[in-house]
Amino acid sequence: MMQKIELMAPAGNFESLQAALDNGADSVYFGVEQLNMRARASINFTLDDLQEISRRCKEKNVRTYLTLNTIIYDHDLSIVKTLIKKAKEANITAVIAMDQAVIASAREAGMEVHISTQINITNIETVKFYAMFADTMVLSRELSLRQVKRITEQIEKDQIKGPSGKLVEIEIFGHGALCMAVSGKCYMSLHSHNSSANRGACKQNCRKKYTVIDQETGFEMELDNEYIMSPKDLCTIDFLDQVADAGIKVLKIEGRGRAPEYVAKVIKCYREAIDSLEKGTYNKDEVILWMQELEKVYNRGFWNGYYLGQKLGEWSKGSGSHATQKKLYLGKGMHFFPKAKIGEFKIEAYDLTIGDTILITGPTTGAKEIEVKEMLVNDEKLDKGLKGDSVTIPLDFRIRPSDKLYKIVENKVEA
């Protein structure tokens, strides 16, 4: 039986949130203040943003999930209560929780609870246990699809229901980074940098180059890949039919730390893939096109994760991204003339030529990618705008002074 799959998008800031909304996400998850797995301030919302997030999502009928899933100390208990209270006031759909204190506080406040991947659910009895508190649960990222399917079938068979009275919904990660350790149990960053991944401050030192030396003899082990701890990124778009067949209800996209154009591209591809599965038109040719699109944005190379149960040890071959495209900052938005539908930008770096693909990002604009077909440079019809020039481009959407203009260029990947 084909289930309707909810596509859940990451939102690290308003740019990404808007990109997720514009590209067809069914729900978004985000962190507020410090108690989430991406606690570093630059990629987080504040308490005051909750109302605006809720308003924007409500307009598009998109569900909102607040991540509150770090380990919790005594001194955090009060802010936990404050966050839940504010989330409830802002009509946020649910709280994604790991610590029992958060689960208890959310239930007490009458908030829906989702179980975080940090709890690492790997069996049906654990599902039964958490069904006392939660309606949706993310399974461990280290399970195979066969194991996932057994759990979803058992939920149906045993009629395991959450507090809402409906059958427990199972969610899995569909795309994005994977950890070298069992997700959420890694203390590597804490040991090396005093920076706990379990408080959302992972330094990602697994992503670096390492050599292995036998301390007794001083011999260095010969390894064909020095990135011995950095797994490739998870991608499931090429076997999404099998993912759906495992009976999951929610497909979660990782990447609250990634750029808005990443969110836009990945959500667009998975939206199309899920829709084509529902229509019954999902096929290999489409998959090839989606894969090409996904390779354009940040990635460490792709693999199937643990879902298909084979091919363990897929290590990344570089520290950064293997993306086939990158963005160059050109300048910022200056004016928008709504009647003529023309946007004016000031070029501060590089140049812009007709035929270039540009990316415009901003907190309200999200991430929009278009090809430049015509433009005026300093009010003259020219093919090329240089640094210092003001260019006007016809646009079918509004731009703002906070918007940034980029050009998309090919990225040479080191082999």
Partner: protein, 76 residues
């Protein structure tokens, strides 16, 4: 004089500074972030100036341990 600064809004509440310099730092029960005791707030930068050099070592340990590098300690 010892000058200690805490850029409080970036704190992730890990508690290390309190473990290492318990006489200078406390965790706020209100928002779960670190508080530099007796410090003056200037646009989010909380600064403590002290002539008592005894606080230097502990504060420096806290600064080194801070995972988000928001504590600075200077001897001037």
């Amino acid at each position: 004089m010892v000058v200690v600064t805490l850029q409080r809004n970036k704190c992730i509440g890990c508690n290390y500074c309190v473990e290492l310099a318990p006489n200078q730092f406390r965790m706020s029960k209100k928002d779960g972030k670190s508080v530099l005791l007796h410090a003056k707030d200037k646009k989010g930068f909380f600064t403590l100036k002290s002539y008592d050099h005894i606080i230097f070592d502990d504060c420096e340990k806290a600064a080194k341990a801070c995972p988000v590098n928001i504590i600075s300690v200077k001897d001037i």
